[in-house]
């Protein structure tokens, strides 16, 4: 397998890890106990997905790479997650909307990967899809609940839309490694926005028009947030190199 294909797997893994790391910040601080547990559960699922993907990437890479060396010893410029995944939690509305967007994208992406010629990747996609289906349902329900809840929740949802919409376009601009891996994210664009429109309509939320879309994360050009995420994430492995934990 080529370096490019490994990069594709790392891209998928980074998306899951960075969003999982963000969601985990809620653990113990959620708005109500049931939802504290739910967001932590989603975080756990995402970290589980990341682990399967990193383990596979480590196998492809060889040279003693492990899931941990890939997660903890790469730099900001080597991470390939989409910019959306690294955006701050903000309030509950912003966290919900970020999750809803990512889950919607992952839902169509993993579905398309079920028939991928690489059976290992197809198997990871199949397992992840079961979890993502639940994340998508949970995220959709909360987008609707907040969009159609109180005046304040609607105002916060609209603000979240204006903060995060500009990061949805990146999903559909293929990086070279995606094209080489036979993945066609641009082909998922219609399904994604049609699902988003359906949920936004139920939530009484307006779909923004003509928004400039930020890109770069897939090729290692991140927002300033990622460096801080990694300094937390990687602290122990950087401070105590080469140890077992």
């Amino acid at each position: 397998m080529t370096q490019s294909y490994t990069n594709y797997i790392l891209h998928l893994a980074d998306n899951a890890l960075i969003l999982g790391q963000r969601n985990a910040e809620w653990c113990g601080h959620g708005p109500v106990l049931e939802q504290d547990i739910a967001i932590t559960n989603i975080s756990l699922d995402l970290i589980g997905q990341a682990r399967s993907l990193y383990q596979y990437a480590a196998e492809l890479k060889g040279n003693g790479a492990t899931e941990d060396s890939l997660a903890f010893l790469r730099t900001e410029r080597e991470f390939k997650n989409c910019l959306l995944a690294e955006q701050p939690n903000g309030d509950w509305a912003q966290t919900i909307l970020r999750q809803f967007f990512v889950s919607t994208f992952q839902f169509y992406l993993y579905q398309s990967l079920l028939t991928h010629s690489d059976s290992t990747l197809a198997a990871i996609a199949e397992k992840s899809l079961k979890e993502v289906r639940y994340h998508l349902r949970w995220g959709s329900e909360w987008v609707i609940r907040l969009g159609d809840g109180t005046e304040e929740s609607a105002r916060r949802m609209n603000k979240a839309v204006s903060e995060l919409w500009c990061y949805t376009g990146e999903f559909f601009v293929p990086a070279d490694y995606e094209t080489a891996a036979g993945s066609d994210p641009a082909g998922l664009k219609d399904a994604f926005y049609s699902k988003v429109r359906e949920v936004f309509t139920q939530a009484s939320l307006a779909v923004p028009e003509n928004v400039f879309m930020h890109t770069g994360g897939k090729n290692g050009m991140h927002t300033e947030h990622l460096g801080f995420i990694l300094s937390d994430l990687q602290y122990m492995q950087r401070a105590y190199p080469g140890c077992e934990w």
């Binding site: 790391q21 109500v32 049931e34 547990i37 109180t150 994430l233 492995q237």
Partner: protein, 309 residues
Amino acid sequence: MPVVDPDQLFQDKIDNEIKIEPKDQMPDAYRKTNIRQISQHAHSEIVGMLPEGNWISRAPSLKRKAILLAKVQDEGGHGLYLYSAAETLGMSREEMINDLHSGKAKYSSIFNYPTLSWADIGAIGWLVDGAAIMNQVMLTRTSYGPYARAMVRICKEESFHQRQGFDALLVLSRGTKEQRDMCQDAINRWWWPALMMFGPRDTESTNSDQSMKWKIKRKSNDELRQNFIDMIAEQIKTLGMHLPDPDLKWNEERKHYDFGEINWDEFWQVVKGNGPCNKQRLDARRKAWEEGEWVREAAIEYAKKRLTS
């Protein structure tokens, strides 16, 4: 007809090991004691998420991160069962949470200590969960039915928590010098607070006698503390570490370990609110609750709309 004393009837049930259920007659003080104890237990689970949650973002491997997340999530789940058990006695979860935030209700003082290194996560699992299990195993046989049943579920998960803590420390104890030092330092800091978790000495414990009579608790503070010390004093040999108590010594006559004097002044200071993290823990809980208010209101409002549409 002979006059039947309801308190005597109640005590007969207790003596015959018949569980008390939510709709049963019970003395007011029994109800109050259970509400106090179960809600305090629920609060401890929730506040207890904070010190360990402090290390989720920095866990040293993906495996450890996943284990820690799962463990802290379990504690949230335990909080839920316990709030539900307490609600069967007629107090709402919201009232209980308000009492926590106002300082009226207490939670376990152990969570007022800071987690300063990764090894603290292992030490909490091994020592703090280990101490909690001694108490919780006893509570699976407590006289109030919903509490006893909640404890059965909780105990199953807690034993996994303790094992993962010990396992994390075992890896450190076999690691580099820095890791071994980190491990010993965590044990030094958590040992005495863990012993304080069993509460004051039996001679000074105000609620104990009645609770024993009602079989809310079945072993005394000192008895549980001794069992815990005997267990840990053996387990620490596997780690090759030591407990920070020069007086710890096997007593062949008593068939128990003797141990040194607990710093009761520190114990009472932390109970009174002067522990290293009392303020931070309560502030974090209040902040989460206040910042979540609009979310809870939106959920209620949305549910109302669905009912009327």
